[in-house]
């Protein structure tokens, strides 16, 4: 692990060879969560140090009496230096010969659940810390639950401080056996349980010699090799339109970052909300047109037909997203001001900002027991399921299917604060003014209403068309 970045051989630096190696590295975004005492800062400090993510002068200022205090490497702000705790999400950067890493380092204690959700939202992997000496804590459970809630596909359960329990296998096994059913229930699948000592360095970078009973890869080895491909390539194409570029009369392009799916010139796409179809003419970038576009590239699409498309619209292909004005969502509440169904909020979903309110609070989730509890509101750092109603149509996917078109933030209209984050569960039933519902109302009595709900969009558009034709006959 010593040779982290060694581009020069015999004193000669070959930039092309070096860049080739560098360009072959992909990016893994991960998050850690841990409480004040379970050694998270020490673990991260050691990873930064051993993967050379820390600079000499930073190491020097983290030294106390000749010894590096790894925790000091990562504690940034004065307030937390004074309190000796980390109080906000901090981002760390390090690299190995195989990968570059962006680590969202989030604090552990109860009142900062919101920071954990923030760090987890962009992560592909979560490291959950447990303290071998103290056993499984509610904090570790909560961290795992929130990471799973935010849809992180990969989990490492780092059982730290093994040195304090003489590296005994039964301690590790006990925590693993106790934690596994919880993780299963929280939908944190295939977690990698790993015994380590951040302080002594066991199983962080090098495999530990003091735990011969454990044969799995070290933490860094695992991070280097874990498969990070999400399912965003296989999902249907989605691009929220950020803006329209019209530098002259001949060019009209729609800018956006591809959220999911693969697109090529000639592919048929659907523009929403208009429902108009066209074909992709070009995938334009500064570096030339692309033959294929895929996530997470930022591109500009031009289409074969002149269609009215603007910011906030969605360009989609394949199975279309659902048109919805009301939907069920899991929410993580951030604001000091609790959820208030009478309050005006804004939903920002993809590139679309619309007025909204919370129609109903279904229940609160106890993130430790995983039980649901009755609730009429949500307070800061609470998680619950609610029904949101928006004043205009959104085009949504389930968060489980698409992390970018299935997520939104809730903004308090009065204070402008980001009040909550939402992960969409489904379009609400029996509500909303979508085409299928209108038709259902119109032909009530002739067709069972249930048959018209949750129609795929194509059918919904057909239904709307049908409604138009029926209007003259049945409109009341």
């Amino acid at each position: 692990m010593a040779a982290v970045l060694e581009p020069s051989q015999n004193g000669h630096f070959n930039i092309d060879a070096f860049m080739e190696t560098e360009q072959s590295k992909d990016l893994l975004r991960l998050t850690t969560a841990g409480s004040v005492d379970d050694g998270k800062s020490t673990l991260i400090g050691r990873m930064l140090h051993d993967a050379r993510g820390a600079y000499e002068d930073q190491l020097k200022s983290a030294s106390r009496g000749g010894q590096i205090d790894f925790a000091l490497l990562t504690d940034g702000l004065r307030a937390e230096r004074e309190q000796g705790i980390t109080i906000d999400v901090a981002y760390r950067y390090f690299a190995t010969p195989k990968r570059k890493f962006i680590l969202a380092d989030t604090p552990g204690h109860e009142q900062y659940t919101r920071n954990m959700a923030t760090g987890a939202s962009t992560a592909e992997l979560a490291i959950i810390l447990c303290d071998a000496a103290r056993g499984l804590t509610t904090q570790s459970r909560r961290h795992a639950y929130i990471a799973a809630l935010l849809g992180i596909p990969q989990f490492v359960i780092a059982v730290n401080k093994m040195d304090l329990v003489d590296f005994r296998q039964e301690v590790f096994n006990k925590i693993r056996d106790e934690f596994s059913p919880f993780l299963q229930n929280a939908s944190a699948h295939d977690p990698y349980f790993l015994p380590l000592s951040a302080l002594k360095g066991d199983n962080v970078v090098e495999r530990s010699r003091r735990m011969p009973w454990f044969t799995g890869p070290s933490l860094l080895e695992y991070l280097e090799s874990v498969d990070t491909r999400g399912h965003s390539f296989e999902a249907p194409f989605r691009m929220a339109v950020q803006g329209v570029l019209r530098p002259d009369q001949t060019f009209r392009g729609y800018t956006g970052q591809i959220a999911s799916g693969v697109i090529r010139p000639g592919d048929e796409v659907l523009a929403l909300p208009s429902g108009r179809r066209s074909k992709v003419r070009r995938i334009v970038t500064y570096d030339g047109d692309l033959e294929v576009g895929f996530p997470p590239l930022s591109v500009t699409l031009t289409l074969e037909d002149e269609i009215d498309i603007g910011r906030g619209d969605m360009i989609a292909a394949g199975e279309p997203p659902q048109r919805a004005r009301t939907f069920e969502s899991t929410m993580v509440w951030f604001d000091t001001r609790p959820l208030d169904p009478a309050r005006h909020y804004l939903v920002k979903h993809a590139s679309h900002v619309v007025p909204a309110h919370v129609e109903a609070v279904r229940h609160r989730l106890n993130v430790v027991s995983l039980d649901t509890e009755p609730a009429s509101s949500l307070s800061m750092n609470e998680v619950g399921v609610v029904r949101i109603a928006t004043s205009r149509d959104l085009f949504i996917d389930r968060y489980a299917d698409n992390r970018l078109t299935g997520s939104f933030i809730l903004i308090d209209r009065e204070t402008n604060s980001t009040a909550a984050a939402g992960m969409i569960l489904s379009r609400a039933r029996n509500t909303g003014e979508n085409a299928a519902d209108r038709l259902a109302r119109l032909v009530r009595g002739f067709v069972p209403t249930d048959a018209l709900l949750n129609l795929p969009l194509d059918d919904a558009l057909a239904a709307a068309e049908l409604r138009k034709r029926l209007e003259g006959v049945w409109d009341d």
Partner: protein
């Protein structure tokens, strides 16, 4: 089926997304342009975000008038070649009163010529969003900075009152007088920036490249004596040293490093070998521990 993209492509895509969001959601965005390598990268990303159209917002340079001469030459050529709408703002009142780092001390000088001048420049332009090239890997207090960093009416930053940021969704709601600082390079490291400059062939100020320069040597510091008020003190000596700047600022307050790196690849090689953070040679950061956080609370970028 998966097309793999490099970390640089991933970072570029993220930055372009951020820049486009700001252009769409704010009334009067501006890009702070410091002439340094990070600014050069940021401008390239803005070009990419709106290609084939022009960059739809102006650039603002807060000029202390104590910048290296080569920086100003570079700035003017760069803006002319790219057809950028560049605004230059200085705190002329403080300068006329004789503000300089030797009379006032580094901290107060920065406060007037950088922080105050920046806030004035933003207010005069009525800008509600300002892009900055800061990166989270630069300094510990920046590791926690949001990509959209909320500033109150006085331009102040409150580390405890920042908006949570999830996924790639940014809350750009501000009241009149409030603003957002936006850091599209948040997730880039210094090595990423240099690699991108190399791959994209982005122009940089020649001061970044090593060459023999006549320097004022003061202890471990190498100062380029460009200004009249930079005078040798007892123990100082003039020496021709092969050196370069690792970051660019005001000539009296920015130290050079001894280096043979006279090309971008050599800088990258040096960066991989030398394990010191780039701000180490910035004299200003040694004022007192945690000084960057203090400056930021007061509105410094």
């Amino acid at each position: 089926m998966a097309w793999k993209i490099s970390h640089l492509q991933a970072l570029e895509a993220e930055s372009i997304h951020i820049i486009r969001e700001v252009a769409a959601e704010f009334q009067r965005p501006v890009m702070l342009y410091s002439i340094g390598k990070d600014s050069s990268v940021m401008v390239r990303l803005a070009q990419k975000a709106f290609h084939p159209g022009p960059i739809p917002f102006p650039l603002l340079h807060v000029d202390t008038t104590y910048k290296f001469k080569e920086m100003i030459t570079f700035r003017d050529n760069f803006a002319a070649e790219l057809g950028l709408n560049l605004i230059v703002h200085s705190n002329t009142a403080a300068l006329e009163a004789g503000a300089n780092p030797f009379r006032l001390g580094t901290e107060r000088c920065c406060g007037l010529l950088k922080t105050q001048s920046l806030l004035d420049g933003l207010r005069e332009g009525n800008f509600d969003a300002a892009f900055g090239g800061a990166r989270r890997d630069e300094e510990k207090s920046r590791a926690k900075e949001r990509i959209f960093s909320f500033r109150d009416r006085l331009g102040q930053w409150d580390p405890k009152n920042q908006r949570p940021e999830l996924w790639n969704i940014f809350n750009s709601r501000v009241e009149p007088g409030e603003s957002i600082r936006v850091f599209p390079l948040s997730n880039w490291t210094e090595l990423d920036v240099w690699q991108y400059i190399h791959v994209e062939n982005i122009p940089i100020v020649p001061l970044y490249l090593a060459k023999p320069r006549r320097m004022l040597v003061r202890g471990n510091s190498l100062i380029l004596p460009e200004l009249d008020f930079v005078q040798p003190q007892p123990g100082d000596k003039f020496e021709t040293v092969k050196c370069r700047m690792r970051s660019l600022g005001c000539s009296p307050c920015t130290g050079a490093i001894r280096s043979d790196a006279d090309t971008v690849p050599k800088i990258i090689a040096e960066l991989v070998a030398v394990r010191k953070s780039e701000r180490e040679n910035r004299v200003i950061d040694h004022d007192r521990e945690g000084s960057m956080e203090l400056k930021k609370r007061e509105g410094y970028f």
